[in-house]
Symmetry: C2
């Protein structure tokens, strides 16, 4: 009898922060995955057939054909089905704190920082063939400071963003931050606690595959993939 190994495919593109969060979670939990490129801005049928919302990431399991859509639904799914290395852990109040921070980075940080950077530095270059708007870049870098300040504050009070252990909040924040950092949108000076926390995150084996990837003609700054302070 053949022994079938479930294999997950992640439909994503290298600078999708939500796909990065899912990849980090799967890496931490030791769930094997293969990457499939999906570019939401090209309106491919394949992506829309799996996800009517037309967004990345989507994960599909090859054996049974199970398709899971939406990065938070995917993370909750793996958390419920794979016990190893729980990332939404603790009491109900602690789990709420983890999910609060996930929402802050998935929604607010993406809206204020990584989303505008992706639009100005990736979409305008690859799709619209326009130059980035310097005013929008400055505004997103200014807002990024507030988030790094908030991480400084959290790390002054806790070992990890949501409390005593590393959780999905750290992975969600690091995923968004890694995209902003790739696109040159972060100034780490005067953010020692945030910088120290992020260096630890970058050093994790789950992070290595992300740091070595490049998005076509767009190059990250030299410090992007460095894991030594």
């Amino acid at each position: 009898m053949a022994f079938e190994i479930a294999m997950w495919h992640i439909f994503q593109f290298p600078l999708c922060p939500f796909s990065r969060k899912v990849r980090l979670l799967m890496g931490e939990k030791g769930i094997a995955y293969e990457l499939q490129t999906a570019r939401p801005w090209e309106g491919e049928d394949r992506l829309f057939e799996m996800n009517p919302a037309g967004r990345t990431p989507v994960v599909r399991e090859t054996e049974r054909g199970t398709v899971i859509v939406d990065s938070r639904a995917i993370c909750e799914y793996f958390e419920e089905t794979v016990d190893r290395n729980p990332q939404i852990s603790g009491t109900a109040v602690q789990r709420a704190e983890i999910r609060r921070l996930i929402a802050m980075f998935d929604e607010n940080f993406y809206h204020d920082v990584s989303g505008p950077l992706l639009h100005e530095r990736m979409k305008k270059r690859l799709v619209l063939r326009q130059s980035p708007d310097a005013k929008i870049l400055r505004e997103s870098m200014k807002l990024a400071h507030d988030y790094l300040d908030y991480i400084d504050y959290l790390i002054d009070n806790r070992p990890w963003l949501a409390g005593a252990t590393m959780t999905l909040a750290d992975l969600a924040a690091a995923a968004q931050i890694s995209v902003a950092d790739y696109l040159g949108g972060l100034d780490w000076s005067s953010h020692e606690q945030a910088r120290g926390w992020y260096l630890v995150m970058k050093s994790r084996p789950s992070f290595r595959p992300l740091l070595s990837e490049r998005m076509e003609v767009i190059q990250p700054p030299s410090h992007y993939a460095e894991v030594d302070a």
Copy 2:
């Protein structure tokens, strides 16, 4: 010995679709709550002290002072702590489908329909003292059709949005839709399945307190609170 009853306060405003979702969930689960008005656009210290992201809803329990932030974190919290009438139920795959639809209405529908309607019809009237932009209103009403089409399609195939039972997906969708409907952004003609589903939702006891509320000078269309077809 005094017998203390835990009481939750919800910090919200009447047309906040995310607060409506939380109120519907608490209503369905039989969790008592009192309303506290919070207006994110006024930048009140009280809201920002509880939620650095400055958003509604926030819930606070009076006895222990527990504060839970972010509408999805709040719903997961009550789902984990109150067993009665589960709203994120079933297998892991079914739970993922519920969460996919919650994300679609919380994120996509809000971005395309209820968010622009709130900006044009509420914020411009109450805060900015401007007239709504007719082009944006037309575009959001056009996009609303696509979502009502999708609900028609789901209800053609399932009794409820996510499957065989009512879930948080129905509550999240009805919460967003009720705000769009209040603001006159929905044309229900040619959406019989969606209309039938929404009439059932409006008839639930959990929905009644929402339908009777009014947001200051802004009045809903006459059909808004009707529960008879």
